[in-house]
């Protein structure tokens, strides 16, 4: 039977992170019940290229109505790896984000900043055989939220990944280097101090395309899975 490395609770936030108000009534409060992983946890949905549309990895194009979206074009790329450093190939990466003004298309986002008719802010791609993914997008703006007085979320992009089984599932957020709001953000700060910087992408002049877009690198590490098929 295949095994995988446990969820590393020293790397993840606590379910109850009271500075982030919404966690107080929604975070799991009782101890998790440990079970031995079996087939149900050693399998999961396998989505590949077949779910991709032609512009899914280009958020500067997939929401266009009558022109180009406004804001700073960026490239976001990186590798999806497991804890052994092995690439996680052919796995689905979904992203969503605010526009350059810090406004989400989501109907509940009532922030007084303009929507961009040419920007949706959602995309997806599949990692290649080296575990690499790549998006073209617009740098998201910061936005205010109601958590505490004068609360602002740092610039961020939401990520959702599967990996090989449901055990490797990960939803996270990618941040940008040097953002002064990181020190003030209870969601980012909910992550143990020694692990936070793993959520901050790095500027890369090598990924940057001349006269076109800045490049940021964000590598993502999932639980390690040793995928050995289970015989009858």
């Amino acid at each position: 039977m295949s095994k995988f490395t446990p969820r590393d609770w020293a790397s993840h936030p606590s379910y109850l992170s009271p500075e982030y108000k919404s966690s107080r009534l929604r975070g799991v409060s009782r101890n998790l019940v440990e079970i031995d992983p079996e087939l149900a946890e050693l399998t999961g949905p396998a989505f590949g290229e077949e779910v991709l549309g032609p512009l899914d990895n280009d958020l500067t194009r997939n929401g266009r109505v009558n022109g180009e979206p406004l804001g700073e074009r960026i490239i976001v790329t990186g590798r999806v790896l497991d804890e052994n450093g092995d690439p996680v190939p052919n796995t689905l990466v979904e992203v969503w984000q605010a526009n350059a003004a810090g406004r989400y298309v989501h109907i509940r986002d009532q922030h007084d900043a303009p929507l961009d008719p040419n920007f949706l802010g959602a995309g997806r791609c599949v990692t290649d055989e080296n575990g690499e993914y790549r998006f073209m997008t617009i740098k998201p703006g910061a936005y205010p939220w109601g958590n505490h007085p004068n609360a602002w979320r740092p610039n961020h992009i939401h990520f959702s990944l599967f990996g090989p089984t449901i055990a490797t599932r990960l939803v996270t957020q990618m941040y940008f280097p040097g953002d002064p709001l990181l020190d003030l953000d209870p969601i980012y700060q909910s992550v143990p101090a020694q692990s936070r910087e793993r959520l901050v992408s790095q500027f890369s002049i090598d990924v940057t395309e001349e006269n076109y877009a800045l490049g940021y690198v964000f590598d993502i590490v999932l639980r390690g899975v040793n995928a050995t098929p289970v015989e009858a």
């Binding site: 295949s2 490395t5 969820r7 590393d8 790397s11 936030p13 992170s17 982030y20 108000k21 919404s22 966690s23 107080r24 009534l25 929604r26 975070g27 799991v28 409060s29 009782r30 998790l32 019940v33 440990e34 079970i35 079996e38 087939l39 149900a40 946890e41 399998t43 999961g44 949905p45 396998a46 989505f47 779910v51 899914d56 929401g63 804890e83 052994n84 450093g85 979904e94 969503w96 298309v105 109907i107 509940r108 986002d109 959602a122 959702s160 449901i166 055990a167 939803v171 969601i187 980012y188 909910s190 143990p192 692990s195 936070r196 793993r198 590490v221 050995t228 098929p229 289970v230 009858a232």
Partner: protein, 199 residues
């Protein structure tokens, strides 16, 4: 271990147009939703309905639920399950995803089939993953079936759960005018907090 895990973060309140776009009528595609079956799918048709409740008992209207299950023969559609004796069903993948923001009572709803037991001696179940604003790490639970009393009593995972909390994992069967429905509410906190697993 040469690498450290990337920390989890909440899915936040605005996932709908990215992860469940068609359900919420945003102009973006969606590759998995609340309907796991087609006319060709084998097995007993069931509907799963439930709500996510917070520590005050209030309904969470911006949670996202994913389910993963075996087919009617107890086989998972994944290379790690290579058990030829249990046939794959080409009309069943076993994965669903549904946000709690579109139904009148903010319930999640899945049209699926009742899975077969994945091996002898275990009860049939569906794996459930809960995401939401305020939920820092997605939470894993399992849905078992109220009409499987005998199998549930012998199930080794249910056995690991304290007896007074097992009921939080049992979905209640109702035979309705529109088919078999199982009710499965998920309580994040409180007296009857749902059992969540780590594995």
């Amino acid at each position: 271990m040469v690498m450290k895990q990337t920390p989890s973060q909440t899915v936040g309140p605005y996932f709908a147009y990215g992860l469940t776009a068609q359900q919420y009528h945003y102009p973006h595609s969606q590759y998995a939703d609340g309907c796991l079956v087609t006319d060709q799918t084998q097995g007993e048709r069931i509907r799963i309905v439930g709500r996510v409740l917070d520590g005050h008992g209030d309904v969470v209207d911006d949670a996202m639920i994913e389910i993963w299950q075996a087919n009617a023969a107890g086989r998972f559609d994944h290379p790690n399950d290579a058990r030829e004796a249990r046939p794959l069903d080409p009309a069943f993948k076993g994965f669903g995803r549904f946000g709690t923001g579109t139904t009148p009572d903010n319930s999640f709803r899945f049209d699926t089939i009742k899975p077969g037991a994945i091996r002898d001696g275990v009860a049939p179940f569906i794996s459930v993953i809960v995401f939401g604003r305020g939920i820092m790490n997605h939470a894993y639970t399992r849905l078992y079936f109220s009409d499987e009393t005998t199998a549930n009593a012998a199930d080794p995972v249910l056995e690991k759960v304290p007896a007074d909390r097992r009921n939080t994992l049992i979905a209640t069967r109702n035979d309705t005018a529109t088919g078999v429905e199982y009710r499965f509410d998920i309580r994040m906190q409180g007296d009857n907090e749902t059992v969540f697993f780590d594995f």
